[in-house]
Each structure stands twice: as C-alpha cells, then as structure tokens.
C-alpha cells in the first residue's frame, strides 16, 4: 500500500499541470488578499448581508471565489487525470500487470487526491488567518452571521469548523468527479459530466447551491439551526458516490 501511494504521488506530481495548477491557486490567494485589501475589507455573508472584515473573521471569506476555482477547475482536472486520463492513455496498464488489488489501487488514488486538497484547504486557512491578523483592523471579539460574540480562540475554532465543512464539500466533489471518470469513456466527457452535475444539481434541488456559492451556504448552516438538508444531502452524496465508485471500479472490465 505504501509503495502504491508513493507511486501515485510521484505520478501526480510528474504531471506538470499539478504543480502549475497549485502554483496558480496560490497566486489567486495572493490576488484575493490584494483584492480584500483594496476594497477596504468589505465582504458578504450572502446577497443581502455585507460585513466589515477584522482580524478574527477574515478567513472564511477567502473561499467565496477560491471555492469556485477548486470545485470547477482544480478538482475535475486532477481527479479526471488520475481516474480516467491514465486509463484512457494506457498508462494504467503498466501497473495492472502487478498483482494489486483493485480496491487498493482505488484507495491509493483517492487518498492522494483527498490529501492534496486537504493540504490546499489547510494552507488557505493558514494564509487567510495570518493575513487577517496582520492586515485587518484589530478587534478582541467579533460575530459571524447569527452567532453570539466570539473571542479570538472561539473565532479560530469557528473558522476551522468552516474550513472543515468546506473540505467535506470538496470531498463530495471529488466523489462525483471520480464517479464521472469511472463511467465516462474519455476525459472530456468525464470533466464535462462533473461540471454538468455541479451546475445541474440546482435544477434538482436548491439545496445543492453549495457547490457554486460555497461560503454563503456554510455561513447559513453554521448560523441558523435546523439546516439538516445540508448535512443529509452531503452525507448521502458522499456515501453513495463512494460506494458506487468502489463497486464499479472493482467490477470494471479492464482488459479488452
């Protein structure tokens, strides 16, 4: 398993687009800092609630725009390349000749993608928090949407919880993208299928708006009680997509 993981990491970073994509992402974080600084630290909980940023509450607002970049560009690109591109181009044949369990192969791929986006999410939180502490007006306590007043430590906990939930949404997108990669014949269809799912979800239920405006939905969930639809739909999506992925992946006819 360890060597499988290592090989997967190595191949992921051998693709130039991985490092370039991550590089562009960090460049976007810098742009986001600049943008927030230029507009004087005003952002939005949602369309009708604007908010003045301060040293504690800055971090979540980075995901308003960066979430789109991750959901629609980085995740589909990396996951489709890993789950479909390698199979499509025939690169997977070379290690299908080894007696590896298919499940292990899937698990290795999944772990690599999940850990990659965990690292990105965590680093975004870190940079955003540091930026908020240094550049934004200093306060001792602050509130978020419909919360009582939080001090520095509680505020940090809130932002961590926020980023944790964002990460769960990212995991769901990874699940959907992997599913599309497994059932679709080529990378183009897999990528477009993923995008169609993320956008088409809104037509099915308004609940799925969190794929598009991720921060507004999570503020809403953390601020108002009784938002079970969010948790239930996420859990449902996560479990179903991963069960189907493993099921189809292991039963797929690889050879001829």
């Amino acid at each position: 398993m360890k060597s499988l993981l290592l090989s997967e990491y190595e191949r992921t970073f051998k693709r130039k687009k991985t490092s370039i994509g991550i590089g562009i992402y960090f460049f976007m974080i810098v742009l986001q800092c600049l943008f927030i600084y230029l507009v004087g630290g005003v952002s939005f909980y949602d369309a009708d609630h604007s908010v003045q940023l301060n040293s504690i509450n800055t971090a979540p607002f980075f995901l308003r725009e960066l979430g789109l970049l991750i959901n629609f560009i980085l995740i589909p690109m990396f996951v489709v390349d890993s789950f479909n591109g390698e199979y499509h181009s025939g690169a997977l044949r070379l290690f299908l000749i080894r007696p590896q369990k298919r499940v292990k192969l899937f698990l290795a791929k999944w772990l690599v993608q999940a850990s990659l986006f965990l690292a990105l999410t965590f680093l975004t939180w870190l940079i955003a928090t540091i930026f908020g502490q240094i550049m934004m007006p200093h306060v001792n306590e602050t509130t978020f949407l419909n919360t009582e007043s939080l001090n520095l430590f509680e505020g940090l906990l809130y932002t961590l919880k926020f980023y944790g939930m964002t990460y769960v949404v990212f995991l769901c997108v990874i699940g959907i993208s992997a599913f599309m990669s497994i059932v679709m014949p080529n990378p183009i269809m897999a990528y477009m299928g993923t995008v169609a799912c993320l956008i088409g979800g809104i037509y099915i239920s308004d609940q799925f708006i969190y794929f598009i405006i991720i921060s507004d939905s999570i503020f809403n969930v953390l601020g108002n009680s009784g938002q079970y639809g969010f948790y239930v739909s996420l859990l449902f999506l996560f479990v179903i997509s991963h069960i189907m992925n493993v099921g189809i992946w292991t039963r797929k006819q690889w050879m001829g």
Binding site: G21, F35, L69, I73, L74, D81, P187, M192, V195
Partner: protein, 276 residues
Amino acid sequence: MNKLIASEWERLWKRKAIWLLFAAIPAMVYAAAKYCLHQNTTVTLDFPQYTVMGNFPVLGLAEMLMTAFNLVVLVITTMVVTDEYRSGQLRMVLIRTHSFRQIIFAKFFVVMSFIFLYLLAYFIICYGVGSMMFSSSETYPQFYHQSDTTVVEGFIYNLKFYGLAFLTLVAMSSVLFFIAIISHTTTTTLGIGIGFLFISIAYPTVIGLFGQLVPNEILLKLYFTSLPMVQWQGLTFMLAESSSLLGWILLVLGCYIVLFQSLMILSTRRKNDTFI
C-alpha cells in the same frame, strides 16, 4: 481544401457527443422557458423583461448563451483539436498534403458551421416552445426602444440578435481554439477554458466595485471588453435604438477575433513535434 473540410465535417458527425449535444437543445430551451416563467411572476407586462411568445427567443438565449453555449463550444473544440492532435488521430489526415495549419482552419470552419446550425435549431425550437408556453400579444415592449414592437418587427430583431450572438461565439471559439492548440492534454484545455470564462465574468464585477472612481461611459466600455458580459447584456445594448456601444462592442469582438486568429496562425507554424 474543400475535401479537407468535407472530411472534417464527416468526422465531426461521426461522434456520438455531437448528436447528444443536438439532442440537448429541447432540454435547454425547456430549462430557459421554466426560468422565464419564474421571471414573469416578478415583472409586469409593460417591462421588456416580461416574456411573451415574440421575445422568448431572445430572453431564452440571454441566460444560455453565456453558460451553455460557451461550454458547448469548449467541448467541441477540445474534442476536435486537442484530443485528435495529442492522441495521434491526426496523423492519418497529415499523411495527405495538407499542412497542420490548413487542418486547424478547416476544423475552425467546420466548428463554426456546426455552431451556426446549433443556433438556428435553438431559434426554431424557441419559437415552437414559446408558442406553447407563453401568451402571444400583438405588440410588446423591447429593450431600449421607445415604442412597442409588433411580432414581425420583433422577428427581425430576434434574427439580428442571433446574428450578433453567432459573432460573439466566433470570437469565443477563436480564444478556445488557441487554448486547445497549445494545451497538451484535454483536461488542461477544459481547465484553462473554464478558467478563462470565470475570469471574464469576474473582472467586470470587480471593475463595478471601483465604479465611483471612473466616469460611467468608460466603465461601460471596460465592462464590455469581456466576452461573456457582451453575450449576457451587451447584445441588447448593441440593438438599442440609439446605441453608443454598437461600434465599441464590434471593435472588441473584432480585436478578439483578429488577435486570437493571429495567435492560431503563429501556434500552428511548422513544428518538429507534430509526429512525436
């Protein structure tokens, strides 16, 4: 060259995805109609945003042009350029006495023909669905026009609107073709393409935030340097009775087309890696 175009045309229709995209038109029109019906509950009859049968082709396209149509162009471009070029299918065509550049421009012509047909089909289906789902009135208000238009005048307006929409898609295709030629894998093309769309939608919004600093006229002109914004709102501005923006937006579209066609010519010059 004619034979090359004929062969490209044939190979385009060999793909299942192309037929699927065509089959998706009724679904797209239906989704647009649902949205327009929802909009009708918020505006009254004397607003141009109120959908009747006569203006449904325009209102039903405005939302879709910026999103679905751009994605359709992106998918086709990725399939016929990046996928064929990088997977080695193009070698069969390159055996003949055509240069890589000729093949790319034949492809561009074929994709443009496809988009033209696609818009035409959308237009006809819009009239069909519009007559079923919306009330038809003799006259209705038109965007940026003083007096109401009749159904016949509206038809001419709709035709102009679709013509300009086609022009924006030509500009968009030029950009995406260039991206497709320089990308090494299909996922890169799709990623950069969607990134281009996002950025084009995002920067006018950012410009809007700094609206107090610059006079309104310049702001509008900057706003309409972005292709998706032209597709979304610029087309009605162009067809207004007294349009100050028509020349400007045509200039912007012309610049996009000239710049990216030149980049296509540059990027398809004789290279040694065609056969690697």
